[in-house]
């Protein structure tokens, strides 16, 4: 493991925010930390980059124990949610900032910065003031500023949450590209599962300071380990016995003699969500938009596949 976290515990006065977390990240992979607001995601990042001291446990990076090092001594950089670009420096100066602390000639630093600008597709903005950039451009510079020092590990704390939907999609894509190009190891914090699925090699689901499950997106979805993960990841129809049915695992067909009745229809574009009443229960159903939408009140035939929770 490239990054190894062992029994990490963090308390604020008496309240334990992180409960003995252990996990690892392989080199050149992205680990996404996913969880509801207040579950301790940012706190976990602060333990990794060293802005807060941990109460128990250890953090190992590339085989070296860095638990006690100050942030500036760790080979880790962070992209903050607020970007935190230096307002009194222009784009170039912001990007170059971290290189000041590497033993590197000014000329080399410049070259490297220009290359980074190119990678970020922002060549023409070298001398622009930070205030004159759009939100997405600022985000890119913040990312570039952290990447340029070639850290062993890059941390990102909800970096795209200030962007609009469309831009967020683009940025996810770009981030993956850049990550591949530079062979970067990353820990990415978000509370948006779509983002987690599209970015993460592995996803760590956390709640109340505890790891609920670490798996690929696929794994989390198809084999949730517990109720929290099940409820948190995707939609599901819970059955009384603890089993569940995913909305896409229900197939409905127009049938005047069917046992189900459409109660609500929600047109989503590529998909259509229905609420159906079946056996006195209400089920969520998701269908591809392949046929004429079914009207409310239509009777339907219902086929489904039950999944079991692999909880022990």
């Amino acid at each position: 493991m490239f990054l190894e976290v062992k029994n990490l515990t963090k308390k604020y006065s008496s309240k334990t925010v992180l409960h003995s977390l252990s996990f690892g990240v392989d080199q050149n992979k992205i680990l996404v930390v996913l969880g509801p607001s207040g579950c301790g995601k940012s706190t976990l990042l602060s333990c990794l980059n060293g802005f807060i001291t941990v109460d128990e446990g250890a953090v190992l990076l590339d085989g070296k124990d860095i638990t006690k090092l100050a942030p500036e001594e760790r080979d880790i950089t962070t992209v903050f949610q607020s970007y935190s670009l230096f307002p009194h420096m222009n784009v170039m100066q912001n990007l170059m900032y971290g290189l000041k602390f590497k033993k590197m000639s000014r000329n080399d630093a410049r070259k490297k910065t220009l290359k980074m600008l190119h990678l970020l597709q922002m060549d023409e903005f070298a001398n622009t003031k930070i205030q004159d950039l759009s939100g997405g451009q600022q985000q890119r510079i913040a990312l570039g500023r952290s990447l340029i020092v070639e850290p062993k590990l890059l941390l990102l704390d909800e970096p795209f949450s200030n962007l609009d939907e469309k831009l967020r999609l683009t940025m996810r894509h770009e981030l993956r590209q850049i990550q591949k190009e530079l062979n970067m190891t990353m820990v990415f914090v978000t509370h948006d599962q779509q983002e987690a699925f599209s970015i993460g090699d592995q996803i760590l689901v956390m709640d109340q300071g505890q790891i609920q499950q670490i798996d690929t997106g696929q794994g989390l979805y198809s084999t949730p380990k517990n109720h929290f993960v099940l409820k948190f990841i995707g939609d599901s129809n819970l059955l009384d016995n603890g089993d569940y049915i995913r909305p896409e695992d229900i197939v409905i067909t127009d049938d005047p003699n069917g046992d189900g009745v459409i109660e609500q229809m929600d047109f989503q574009g590529s998909t259509i969500n229905y609420l159906i009443n079946y056996n006195k229960h209400v089920f969520h159903v998701t269908c591809l938009n392949r046929m004429e939408p079914l009207r409310v009140g239509t009777r339907v035939d219902v086929q489904y596949k039950v999944s079991k929770l692999e909880e022990r």
Partner: protein, 549 residues
Amino acid sequence: MGKNHLGSKITNWFVYIVISLSILLFIFYPYLSIFVQALHEPGETFNNFFMQNIDLTKNSLFVAIITMVLSVFLAVSVTLCFVFISKKWQSILRVFLLITMVSPPFVTSLAYITLFGRRGMITHDLLQMTIDPYGPQGIILMQTLSFASLNALVLIGLLKQLEPSLINSARSLGARTDAVIKDIILPLLKPGLIVVALISFIRSLADFQTPTIIGGSFKMLASEGYFAVISMGDIHKAALINLTLAIPALIGFFLYIKYDREMSVQHHGLSSNMKAFPLPKKGFFFVGSVILSVIFYLALLLQYGSIVMNAFSVKVMGNYRFSLQPIIDSQIYLNDTITRTILYSLVAGLLGSLISFLIIYYSKVRNDRFMKFIEMVGTFPYILPGTFFGLGYLYAFSKPPLIMTGTSIIVIINVIFKQVAFATKAAKASVSQIEPTYFKTVHDLGGTVVNEWKDVFFPMTKQGFAITFLNGFISTMTTIGSIIFLVHPGQNMMTLVMFDVVQRGEYQVAAVIACMIILICLVMSGIVFGLISLSGKDWGYVFRSKKSH
């Protein structure tokens, strides 16, 4: 509806005209008069005077420049030290700095002579030296000490803009404490540095008290100007001297306008909440700033300790004994002066702020060209020495068309309009936090100008208004130069009494008065901040939402 609009239009014009005229009349006209007096009245010509007294100018500039550099340097150290200390200490030290804004130079000077004088406890008794403390070195040291407080408060106010995440960012990129300070914090302070440098420069030029106490044979423009009036009754010479002072001050002023724009928030450091910063306590800047700050605070402590000691003791055969005698003695000097001073300060604070906010309403919200000019005229009293303003009043309002000297009104008007300079700055900072769309919304929904004031402008700036008021109150409580030539019997103010008793060597009484002034200012600060925190908590969030770039 139509009627309502007409009424509001009339109110609007009435306010606009009254404000413009009052600024022209009570700021522009006095300055104009004194300029005319200096240049056109019979007597020595300006050129002649200037050439013959070039040494005075040189001395003043010499002291002003060195004082400026040192007091800014000291203020920066104190500000940097703030970055390292906890919120609790930040609050404590800020109150302390606030207290020391009320800085009667006699205390510093007295303590200085006792310690470093020719028979000083340190220089003579301890080190067996006989050093002459009188001269430029004494003036510079005293001024540096007393200006550093205000400078530091202004700079500390700027720290509010410093986001801890910015520091974290830099650190995560590998910046150590020194680099963070050099690359992030100092650049953030830069516009403030220029502003406080100019304030110190101008204050030093205008300070006529310190040189009279500690200057020895070293002569400077401001004190000579004061003596020209006091000992020779030579108003013309005083006008010439003040004109000479005005030249560097005006040059400073234009630099100031240039840089002031960059500094959006400037509240004399009176802003409320502080925060702790995630910066490791190490490195050159940390050590340096802590050492200098400790020395600075010790010096202040010594200074204010000696005020309190003087206020509560008498000297018998060279030894101090606890006594309430000074407080009893001070009564005959004060009588109704305390109430009057508080009353004047209240009026000056309130009306000064009101006028300033209305000026800013027109100049900033309405973008009115003429009002921008009025706003600039309003900053003159900030730039030019206080005595100059006072002389202008004395000269302008002692002859037709408007004779007002000898009345209380002239003193009140003087202190009100002296506030405008600073109050407009604070008003601007406060108004810049209101989104312009609010004003449009008012009109959209059928409101008038008066509605803009009562529904948006004043309610949304009330916190800024309160702080501006407090500023005006404190500075009126401590003002001397601009009213010293204006008061007549029955109009005296506490600072003037203090200045007077210092002149006659009644330091104990002076110390009592200084304590009272400090106490009154503190109580008023407490009231204002109490009100703000009671009513204003919810406002913070509304304003913050605008912060995005």
